[in-house]
């Protein structure tokens, strides 16, 4: 288990985080620190607590005990201050959570809403805003810029996945969180998306991604193994061997 001393520079630090569950705790005394430039994969069988840990990391869930530090600062108590902190955290959801009724451009601009005031947020629903920036994002994701005006409901699965990533890029957060983003994707799309995510996680950003396929660990700096809500290992990704994976997944359904 790693206990870094450079906590002040960590983008995300979890100290002794515990979350109660129905029978067993969903997370139990978890420590984790994530520094700029780090690409960390969360491994573990289904029900190990990966999604819970990500929900703690982005503030969706409040732990029963323990401390969450964002850029060395505890979660703010006041709602506006907390929202300012959350702007720096971007999540790529497994179910994407795009707004089906809006166009690609409006969805991409959804990433900027936290920075915009009401007038621009309303204008975004009337006219295309910041088209050039949106076009660049699509270009970066290898998508045709003519898609901007399309409703997202008209896109293919792979395109939608990339639009969700595009919204994250428009948000421009420091901490990238992703909850099993590669599930439900065919192998080619999965490796493309992963490559893009890893590329975007260059300093000052960092990436924490829950992964259901240990064969895709290449490119990650660290891997954290979770089992029954506890950290089983936290080590360089390259040093994760078949034996530790077998121990992590043994007897599990996932």
């Amino acid at each position: 288990m790693i206990n870094r001393t450079v906590a002040s520079t960590a983008l995300l630090e979890l100290r002794q985080i515990s979350v109660a569950g129905r029978e067993t705790p969903r997370l139990s005394a978890v420590d984790l620190a994530l520094h700029p430039g780090e690409r960390v994969a969360l491994l573990g069988p289904s029900g190990a607590g990966k999604s819970t840990l990500l929900a703690i990391a982005n503030g969706a869930l409040v732990p029963q005990s323990g401390t969450v530090l964002w850029q060395g600062v505890p979660q703010a108590r006041s709602a506006p201050a907390r929202r300012r902190q959350q702007r720096q955290i971007g999540t790529l959801w497994q179910d994407l959570r795009l707004i089906e009724e809006l166009s690609v451009q409006q969805n991409l601009n959804g990433g900027r809403l936290a920075h915009w005031g009401w007038p621009r947020a309303l204008l975004n629903l009337l006219v295309p805003l910041e088209s050039e920036a949106c076009r660049q994002v699509l270009h970066r994701l290898d998508l045709d810029p003519s898609l901007l005006a399309q409703p997202v409901s008209a896109l293919s699965g792979g395109q939608r996945q990339r639009v969700a990533l595009g919204r994250l890029l428009r948000q421009d957060p420091l901490l990238l969180l992703a909850d099993e983003p590669l599930a439900n994707l065919d192998p080619r799309l999965a490796s493309e998306l992963l490559a893009q995510l890893l590329r975007e996680a260059a300093p000052p950003r960092a990436l924490l991604l829950s992964l259901h396929r240990p064969d895709l660990l290449d490119g990650f700096d660290r891997a954290i193994g979770l089992r029954a809500g506890q950290v089983v290992f936290d080590q360089p990704a390259a040093s994760v061997d078949a034996a530790s994976l077998a121990a992590l997944y043994s007897g599990a359904n996932g």
Binding site: N58, Q106, L113, W118, L126
Partner: protein, 518 residues
């Protein structure tokens, strides 16, 4: 520039701009004190046992009228709905034109508001207990028939064809194949109509047809606000009780949601062992209605005893044609549009402004319950304490009542639409109101507006209710003609109302189809 989905439900709220501009000119000097007294009386209702006993008695009559009228309309609607369904005629005699004829004929009773039926019957047979019941049952029966017809005609016919081809006689085959898929949709719609019937029965009381509405308007007119409030609190308790019982039955039987009311979803709900429960509850309620009808001393034969009426005035048709038709129709349409825009637009606006605030949800629930509780003519009466008579107070009163109905549906729909997209926006540091606008209004925008279109069509029918108080449009003219026994004018006014509401119904149907189909 094309507004995106989340903005659509807010667009009708733009009507607030001209309304707020018109408001200063519409306010007259006095009356604010009275409004203050009315508001204050809400927290100190009269507890005088004599008042309470009278109001409990009045409330009993209102509830009994509502239940009996509802039961009659349900049976009538079922019968007429079956008679106007194409599948039924096609299965029984191989042709479907009689179905279309019945459906067209039903448009007439449907297009005329229960209050007009009530006032007409009042003139014809005098103040009898049967009047209020029949006045509600006629239009409601025709409305239920329309829904039943749509439900029957949209249920998949495969099982019916299978039974018919196996040699089963048409009536048995129809009941077996269409009954079970029809029941949940019918009961869900029936529950909604029961809520409406309670409101209608109260409203008819306001116009002198007995029950609590009568007590309420008398208390208001004699400025006995504390007495009025004890009646309103009683009515509120019954209304909320009924709504929550129906909502829990709907949940228990997993019935179609109300925002997508209508044939589109009617056939989707499943039925199994629950069908027996549904039939048992329905039979129980119908038996209760039968007992209540006996308590109210309702005798259908009263309908046959017409009063002697004054003879038709000579030259009446010329006089009727000489009415100021253009302003009458224009004011009626203006009233509908204003009220509809106020009701449809204010709901989402208020939800957006108040819901994220800690006490906001409670405030909204209270405001919307008050809107449903107060019959529009009473609200108009209160508004006339501070506003000059005209289209504005009438539209505000009608809009407020419908805001109560739409607001409740909007809240239900928005609660079920909460989740994924909105949560993702919140986690990205976006404020709660913007997250609500983008995340929650997007998925419900079209179905909400479609329901708003249906409601606007209802509001057109309802203009008669406030026009009588607000002094504008066809409704106020109708009231005058009714008290003058000017039958030719009444006939023409009814035709005008029927034509307007049928055109309105067609327009709102088209708008709904376009909104839901897009």
């Amino acid at each position: 520039m094309k507004p995106a989905a989340p903005l659509l439900p807010l667009l009708p709220a733009l009507v607030l701009v001209p309304v707020l501009l018109m408001l200063p000119g519409a306010i007259h000097g006095g009356g604010w004190e009275l409004i203050g007294q009315f508001a204050l009386a809400a927290v100190q209702p009269s507890l005088d046992p004599v008042v309470l006993a009278a109001q409990v008695q009045g409330l009993g009559i209102t509830c009994a009228v509502a239940l009996v009228a509802w039961a009659c309309s349900l049976l009538l609607g079922l019968l007429l709905g079956v008679l106007s369904a194409r599948v039924v005629w096609h299965s029984c005699c191989g042709c479907q034109w009689p179905a279309d004829v019945v459906a067209r004929l039903l448009a007439v009773p449907r297009s005329i508001h229960e209050l007009i039926w009530g006032l007409l019957l009042l003139q014809l047979i005098g103040l009898q207990s049967v009047v209020a019941v029949v006045a509600i049952a006629i239009p409601y029966g025709a409305l239920v028939a329309r829904v039943v017809r749509d439900l029957i005609d949209t249920v998949p016919r495969r099982s019916l064809e299978a039974l018919l081809s196996a040699g089963v006689a048409a009536p048995q085959a129809l009941v077996t194949a269409l009954g079970p898929p029809l029941l949940p949709g019918l009961l869900s719609y029936g529950g909604y109509r029961l809520e409406c019937a309670l409101r209608s029965a109260t409203l008819l009381g306001v116009f002198g047809l007995g029950g609590l509405g009568n007590d309420l308007v008398l208390s208001l007119q004699s400025l006995q606000f504390r007495e009025a409030w004890s009646g309103l609190w009683l009515l509120l308790a019954v209304m909320l009780g009924l709504e929550s019982v129906l909502a829990s039955l709907r949940r228990h039987w997993t019935m179609p949601p109300r925002l997508q009311l209508g044939p589109r979803d009617g056939g989707q709900a499943t039925i199994g062992a629950q069908g027996r429960q549904m039939l048992l509850v329905l039979t129980g309620v119908l038996l209760l209605a039968w007992a209540l009808a006996a308590w109210l001393q309702i005798d259908p034969r009263q309908l046959l005893h017409w009063q002697t009426l004054p003879p038709l005035p000579a030259g009446g048709w010329r006089q009727a044609l000489g009415l100021n038709w253009l302003p009458l129709v224009f004011n009626t349409l203006l009233l509908t549009l204003l009220a509809a825009a106020l009701a449809v637009g204010s709901g989402p606006l208020l939800l957006l402004l108040l819901a994220p605030w800690r006490w906001g949800q409670g405030c909204l629930l209270g405001l919307w319950a008050l809107g449903r509780l107060l019959p529009p003519p009473l609200t108009a009466l209160l508004l006339l304490f501070v506003l000059k008579p005209g289209v504005l107070p009438a539209a505000l009163a009608l809009g407020f009542h419908n805001l109560g109905i739409l607001g409740r549906l909007l809240r239900e729909a928005s609660a079920s639409a909460a989740g994924g997209a909105e949560e993702a926006l919140l986690q990205a540091g976006i404020g709660p109101r913007l997250a609500l606008l983008y995340g929650r209004f997007s998925p419900i925008a079209r179905s909400y507006l479609a329901y708003g279109a249906y409601r606007s069509d209802v509001m057109l029918r309802e203009t008669v209710v406030v026009a009588l108080v607000g002094g504008t449009g066809l409704g106020s003219q109708l009231r005058e003609s009714l008290s003058a026994f000017a039958w030719q004018e009444i006939a023409l006014l009814l035709v005008a109302y029927a034509v307007l509401t049928l055109v309105g119904e067609d327009l709102s149907d088209r708008a709904r189809r376009q909104l839901l189909g897009a």
